[in-house]
């Protein structure tokens, strides 16, 4: 596990300091300086592994992604609640393998995180070398429902890759 290069530590320090200032709830120079000090101590005591990929953020695509996930969150929350209340036979589900196009660990992580956030899908297993997510999907009744979910997951991946494009050409498996 290689340590983060000093230049790469800056965003981490900024984030930790922000959390520190938010925890205090008030803005002051003392809070800012103590926050930076605490972040430096945290990074020295608990070093993070380096994220090797350089990625940019496209603000507009990111907003589109957030809007999509937020809508999904509401729609599927209602759906899971409906399944919880609906009488009748036991709800069926499926464990589906979704093979993503990307081989990037960062994209894989973000897709997994976004999928898990949305009700109705839980990540059971991840195979990073092949970029495959194994997802438990609630309320799948047949093969058609399974394909619908796969298409949704791939669309999500598409949105995430648009929002976080690689600085250089993305490594793709041939």
């Amino acid at each position: 596990m290689s340590r983060l290069a000093p230049r790469r530590q800056l965003p981490v320090i900024a984030w930790l300091t922000l959390v520190w200032v938010l925890l205090w709830g008030t803005w002051s120079w003392a809070n800012l300086l103590s926050g930076i000090l605490v972040s430096l101590i945290v990074l020295a005591v608990l070093p993070l592994p380096a994220v090797t990929e350089g990625r940019r953020v496209r603000p507009l695509a990111l907003l589109r992604l957030i809007a999509y996930v937020a809508r999904d969150l509401v729609v599927s929350s209602v759906e899971v609640s409906r399944l919880a209340l609906s009488p009748g036979p036991r709800v069926t589900s499926a464990v589906l393998a979704v093979r993503l196009q990307t081989r990037s660990d960062l994209i894989l992580t973000v897709v997994a995180e976004a999928l898990s956030l949305v009700p109705g899908s839980v990540i059971v297993e991840i195979d990073s070398p092949t970029g495959t997510l194994y997802v438990h999907v609630l309320g799948v009744r047949d093969a058609e429902g399974a394909e619908r979910f796969r298409a949704r997951a791939l669309h999500l991946e598409h949105l995430i890759r648009r929002a976080l494009p690689a600085m250089t050409r993305e490594k793709e498996a041939a």
Binding site: V19, V21, L22, L23, W24, G25, T26, L73, V74, S76, S77, V80, S81, L83, A84, L85, R90, V91, T92, S93, A94, V95, L96, A97, A112, E113, L115, S116, L117, V118, P119, G120, S121, V122, I123, V124, E125, D127, T132, Y134, H136, L138, V140, R141, D142, A143, G145, A146
Partner: protein, 130 residues
């Protein structure tokens, strides 16, 4: 105007409570661990966001609002992780009602990788259990 914001805050808090209640109902009614994870980790995420938003509107002049922002952010980041870990454990220890799965694309791949899911393979338990 304050009446409006009070009403909005109340509505958000009540919606959040309702979603959390429905999550509890799902926890009791869903048949196995994997299905229950959906109820336990999800509607409650949106429910918590609603409660936090409602509380934020009521407390908008207090310094505690920033704490609420952190609560929401960390909930969004951590809920998927815990959900994944419990689901992975449940699958590998065979706490899955395979009779209620219409497809299982993980089992063949796991077996191909030489991983036999779980020692405690047993027939599905009937009826509701706590």
């Amino acid at each position: 105007m304050t009446t409006f914001f009070d009403a909005l805050a109340g509505l958000l808090v009540l919606t959040g409570c309702l979603l959390t209640l429905l999550a509890g109902v799902g926890l009791v009614r869903f048949p196995d661990v994997l299905s229950r994870m959906h109820a336990a980790t999800k509607p409650q995420t949106l429910g918590l966001l609603c409660v936090v938003a409602g509380a934020g509107i009521r407390l908008h002049r207090s310094v505690d609002v920033w704490m609420l922002v952190l609560v929401a952010a960390f909930q969004l980041v951590t809920a998927p992780v815990s959900g994944h870990l419990v689901a992975r454990m449940a699958y590998r220890t065979r706490h899955v009602r395979s009779d209620l799965l219409v497809a299982d694309e993980l089992r063949p791949d796991l077996e191909a990788a030489g991983i036999e899911p779980g020692p405690g393979r047993r027939p599905p338990r009937r009826g509701r259990q706590g």
